[in-house]
Amino acid sequence: MPRKDLRSRLAAALRPGNAGVVYALLLIVAVLTLLTAQLGRPPYLSATNVINILDQSSLIAILAVFTTVVLISGNFDLSVASVAAFSAATVLSLVAPLGLPVAMAIALGAGLVCGAVNGLIVQLVGINAFIVTLGTMTAVRGLVLILTDGRTITASDPDAQSSLIALQAGYWTVPHILAILGAAAAAAGVFVLLRRSRPAGIALLAAGAVAIVLSPVLGFELRLSKPTYYLIVIAGITWAVLRYTVIGRRLYAVGANAEAARLSGINVNRYRIGAFVLNGLGSGFVGILFAAKLLAINPTGLQGTELTVLAAAILGGTSLFGGLGSVLKSVVGALILFTLDNGFNVLNLGANYQGVIVGTVVVVAAAIYTVAGRQRQVKRVRESSKPQVQVRQEALR
């Protein structure tokens, strides 16, 4: 029986309705690989290029992870990009006088406060999250403007610069890691599958398989940028917490039906405010990484990123109505968006045509797995209900 279970779970997890966003990504990568080959450009799936894509996506993907948590909790946050910019401006202004640890702590604290303000207003005053976070998005952007006074802030102090650079620049290399990790992931996947957890297990298994397959291609050592590792750790931990802890179960419950959650004794406000605070903190962290990456921020820095982040999460199948979503799929959503940008650069496609293509691909990607998912949901009348015997009268006498 467990064996049969395993197979059916595998099948379920691999169904387009479930893993659709992954298929969409694979399709895009396949098309780009073919096109580059066709046009006689350097191979698309080269180690460098894959490392680049991961590096380029990582900060937005981290934002998407935390935004997914907010969406699962049944809320909405437009303020992430402003908060990240604010944190970046904070850390850049303070790193020289106060040193990196203190500057980072203050920047993270600023993010946390922004998140808490969002959460408290939304949950305790009860105003719509869209309008609240639109307001804080504007207000925090205003703070960035005040802090920067309309200029680009840089970390010009060399010590400060190098401490910031150390945060994110460069790559960590682990020999044979890809094969090792792949094997580990696959093993974990099998284990998880046995523990009856479909999508999770299959994600691990698939990741493992891909890693093993790519291992010869990418070389026998794993060389990824630091932000990529941050992403892996953050997405991994968040996923595990949501997937395996009671916090996750309650968060989903709060988003799916707040009243049911309340009646089960769950403190709905705590979870929803907590999600906002986490998102604020996460935005603060990403802001620091942006500061470290760019060593400069101007008042309009990261403007508009909030829509990219939401797009990643929603491409990953997260519901805007709460209770549904997976941080890993949101990461894949972000990868889709950055793979496209990367593809345009590699193919040297004219700037004028990129917009039309991105827009179309986003809709088509969503269509692929919406339609596939629908197929699955065909409800069926019970095939063979075992006789539910006994007349009520008899039961009662």
Binding site: T36, R41, P42, S46, T48, N49, N52, D55, Q56, L145, G150, R151, T152, T154, S156, A169, F290, K293, L294, A296, N298, P299, T300, G301, F338, D341, N342, F344, N345, V346, L347, N348, A351, N352, Q354, G355
Partner: protein, 299 residues
């Protein structure tokens, strides 16, 4: 300079005070205004042409003695200049042309304006081409990091580049041109990606210093020997020239530009120097490690 005791009020419709370059122009204007005893009403279009149209309406309602307009969009600015003229408010355009650049030469200033005070974006592109010819002599493979699609500067800052490079004996083959949307981060990604598909690129021309700084990081990280040329002379750009990350840039001086624009208008108002559709500009020198002293960054 003002001999009359009249206190002038001048309206400034700035294209966006959150953008460092126009913000620095605004700063120059205000500093000069303090000196001249002029009252400034400064409105922020936040980069939106439609908001600039509203701002101009609000300015007209306040009946200032003159207006400085930093156009968000040259085409839209034409209508705004007409409206200002209809209200008899002397107007100076700053930093961008008024009127469709496809149909109007830069120096053919839109009639009705007192003056257009700006750097010559075309000439600046030419200067960048000269820097390129000096750091990658003879020519080679070049990739361009463009500003956000839709900005006039994307065309203007490229037009003279190949010509002046060729004049110095360098002909470049453009192997890629991709948008960096004026921002460091996207430019860094674009250069990373262009390098991975064209590893033998020898020259990157980034259409702003922010993008050049981002591009330089990608070049360094990839261990490429390609040179990066920027444009703008911002603090970021000059620092990068100093550190050798980028080979050179073209020095824009937004604060000086602001001052120049305000004095031009003030002199017209006082009658000191009446002008009609004059083209006023300032020098934007090419900057490399050799002449860093010629450019004190103003933004």
């Amino acid at each position: 300079a003002g001999d009359g005791n009249k206190q002038y009020t001048i309206g400034v419709s700035n294209l966006g005070l959150s953008f460092p370059f126009p913000a620095a122009i605004g700063k120059g204007i205000k500093e000069e205004a303090d000196k001249l005893g002029i009252k400034i009403v400064e409105l922020d279009a936040q980069g939106k042409a439609d908001k600039q149209s509203n701002d101009v309406q609000d300015l007209i309602a306040q009946q200032p003695d003159g207006v400085l307009i930093l156009p968000v969009d040259s085409g839209v600015a034409q209508g705004l200049a007409d409206r200002l003229k209809a209200s008899n408010i002397p107007t100076v355009a700053v930093a961008s042309q008024v009127g469709d650049p496809k149909q109007r030469q830069l120096k053919d200033v839109y009639p009705g304006l007192v003056a257009l005070v700006t750097q010559d974006e075309y000439a600046a592109g030419g200067k960048a081409g000269e820097i390129a010819a000096s750091v990658v002599p003879g020519g080679g493979k070049m990739a361009i990091v463009e500003g956000q699609a839709g900005f006039a500067e994307v065309v203007q800052r490229y037009q003279e580049f190949p010509k002046s490079a060729a004049a110095k004996g360098a002909t470049y083959e453009v192997v890629a041109r991709q948008p960096g949307d004026w921002v460091q981060d996207k430019a860094q990604s674009a250069c990373q990606n262009m390098l991975s598909s064209n590893p033998d690129t020898q020259l990157f021309y980034a259409q702003s210093d922010d993008m050049a700084a981002g591009c330089a990081k990608a070049v360094a990280a990839a261990g490429s020997k390609a040179k990066v040329v920027g444009i703008g002379g911002s603090k970021l750009g000059i620092d990068a020239v100093k550190s050798g990350a980028i080979a050179g840039t073209v020095c824009y001086k937004p604060e000086d530009l602001g001052k120049l624009a305000l004095t031009t208008l003030h002199q017209h108002l006082t009658g000191q120097k009446k002008q009609d559709a004059a083209f006023v500009t300032y020098d934007t020198p090419a900057i490399t490690k050799d002449n860093l002293a010629d450019c004190t960054p103003q933004w």
